[in-house]
């Protein structure tokens, strides 16, 4: 999938309490969670984000709790892809499991500025900075994760495996 859009920049160690404060964890509804996305650090974020836009952050994005409400809120508020210098591990797997495209690319993060427009091919991990013209290639996901992603997320992957097991039986 190719995404072209405006970016929203964040710093180091954005934690899951920043992304979705615990007080909003009393629901599993993505639309409700989206209304409070990033309010821990920017109370205006839910109003200014639009569908198809891209989040760019420095190192250790998504550190802290295991709450899957965090990537769900980001996805539900319209963010099409998160690019970071690095991700905290539970956020990383949660994003993969729910089908929120994420890309690790410290070089692109370092050289991207607030007003830049990026074009991202989430399948091959290629990032193009439309403003500067620079292109960044990132390592593809390991084969196992590609299978998860192409299945459409972890639960679809589980369902496929169950169907296969049922066929064998």
């Amino acid at each position: 999938m190719v995404i072209k859009g405006k970016i929203h920049m964040f710093g180091d160690n954005v934690n899951t309490d920043d992304i979705i404060p615990a007080v909003y964890l009393d629901t599993t509804n993505p639309v409700e969670l989206a209304k409070h996305c990033m309010v821990g650090i920017d109370s205006t974020f839910p109003d200014k984000v639009a569908s198809g836009e891209i989040m760019v952050a420095n190192k250790n994005f998504g550190c802290g709790s295991s709450r899957e409400h965090a990537p769900i809120a980001i996805k539900a508020c319209g963010i099409a892809c998160v690019i970071a210098s690095s991700f905290a591990r539970i956020f990383y797997r949660n994003a993969i499991n729910i089908g929120l495209p994420i890309i690790v690319c410290p070089e692109a993060v370092e050289e991207t500025k607030d007003e830049d427009v990026l074009e991202v091919d989430t399948t091959c991990g290629r990032i193009k900075n439309i403003t500067t013209g620079k292109i960044y290639a990132t390592a593809p996901f390991p084969e196992f994760m590609q299978r998860l992603i192409s299945a459409g997320g972890l639960m679809e992957y589980v369902r496929e495996k169950q169907d296969m097991a049922a066929d064998v039986n």
Partner: protein, 419 residues
């Protein structure tokens, strides 16, 4: 090439050798969920249309975060958990009155054992590494998949070794050692890695301090925080275990990504300043920080040993008139033991309030939320912006000894100042 404990536990569950960087799908011994993360998992699980979970004895469900129900919406979440547990006949569902904070409760109940693979939809699941288990936090969809299949995907982590030499100063315990460690390596210093804590100081620590250390491995980004099981572990586990377990040891030629050594005789009691657990200072360099509230409890420091230390400091003293001290025993058993030992009397005489077990204030849920501009000293594990309430409130992390002393003085203080 030798193997680390983490590699050996994962390898044993795979039935073959595994190496760091490898992606595996592996069976788990215990899967844990709570009232915040499980409702999301249940939505995903129900989509599969299964008649049962993979093993009703190996799924553990604990309403502890917003329980006892803090409001109507929390009550709805807890109800979802309760009804799921009933529908699928979950053996280990712990209702209010029988529950505790999950990471204190599971070891106490003998549900998690050395050599296990334990996953939990809660980041502090790494606590059980203190038993010599591979325990790590995962998300809700992960939990749904595990409840369905008993299997999870992992990347086999590299290991980082932390060696603690010498002996601890007075009032220094597991909380100080782990805060000091996070201060040294940073909040992503162990990202994706298995932290392995060892050395003569670790061998001499009681289980409570070991749980505190493993609990906060996640605050350095660690996948787990493992301590090799020894006599202390066996003594703790033996009266509790209802199934067999296996002890794994790292080989002397095991490969580590990094090795850190600490001379513990030089480590003072630590305080982590807002807004990162890595923002640590020794108590002698804290300065004059006035506080409005103290919290002694949580999955990090709500065990009976923690309460004993708090009582030792608070005995015969009064909490500062401008401070609220909230003490939360982590489980019903700990609460009852604290009553029998006279600790609760000491707390109430000191004008602290004692709460039923709950995660409550640690994540800004209930039972002690901070107003704008307020500061708290807490034995909890995170001091992010707004973690305990208003975005302009502040949390300082420390041990039960420091928290108790600070509540008496009205500012962050060492027990030496009050005893």
């Amino acid at each position: 090439m030798g193997k680390t404990i983490a590699e050996k536990i994962l390898g044993a569950h795979m039935g073959r050798d595994v190496s760091p960087g490898e992606l595996i799908e592996v069976g788990v011994d215990i899967a844990l969920g709570n009232d915040i993360t499980t409702p999301l998992a249940i939505v995903e699980f129900e989509k599969l249309g299964l008649e049962s979970v993979f093993d009703r004895d190996r799924v553990v469900l604990v309403p502890d975060h917003f329980a006892p129900n803090k409001d109507v919406r929390a009550a709805q979440q807890c109800k979802i958990l309760r009804e799921f547990a009933k529908k699928y006949n979950i053996t280990n569902y712990f209702e209010v009155g029988r529950m505790g904070i999950e990471h204190a409760l599971l070891p106490e109940a003998g549900l998690v054992l050395p050599g296990d693979i334990i996953i939990g939809a809660d980041s502090h699941t790494c606590t059980y590494g203190a038993l010599g288990a591979f325990a790590t936090g995962i998300g809700s969809t992960d939990l749904a998949a595990v409840m369905a299949t008993g299997q999870i995907w992992f990347m086999v982590p590299e290991s980082i070794k932390f060696i603690y030499n010498g002996s601890c100063q007075k009032w220094v315990g597991g909380k100080d050692l782990i805060l000091h460690t996070i201060g040294r390596i940073g909040v992503d210093g162990a990202n994706y890695a298995a932290m392995e804590f060892c050395g003569e100081v670790i061998s001499s620590l009681p289980m409570s301090d070991r749980f505190t250390m493993s609990n906060m491995a996640i605050e350095a980004g660690g996948k787990c925080g493992i301590i090799q099981a020894d006599e202390t572990t066996i003594e703790y586990v033996t009266p509790r275990a209802k199934r067999s377990y296996k002890i794994y040891k790292s080989d002397s030629d095991a490969k580590y990504k990094e090795v850190y050594e600490f001379d513990c005789s030089r480590i003072e009691p630590q305080v982590a300043f807002p807004h990162l657990p890595s923002n640590t200072k020794p108590i002698s360099q804290v300065g004059d920080i006035k506080i409005d509230q103290g919290i002694i409890g949580s999955c990090t420091n709500g065990r009976i040993e923690d309460l004993r230390i708090a009582a030792q400091v608070l005995k015969g003293k009064k909490v500062h008139p401008e401070v609220r001290l909230i003490i939360i025993p982590a489980t019903q058993k700990i609460y009852q033991l604290a009553i029998k030992e006279g600790l609760i009397d000491i707390f109430i005489e000191a004008q602290a309030v004692v709460s039923t077990p709950t995660c409550g204030p640690c994540l800004g849920g209930h039972m002690g939320i901070l107003a704008e501009g307020e500061k708290a000293i807490a034995t909890t594990n995170r001091n992010f912006v707004g973690r305990m309430g208003h975005p302009k409130s502040e949390v300082y992390l420390a041990s039960p000894a420091i928290a108790a002393a600070s509540c008496i003085k009205g500012r962050i203080a060492s027990p030496e100042e009050v005893l």
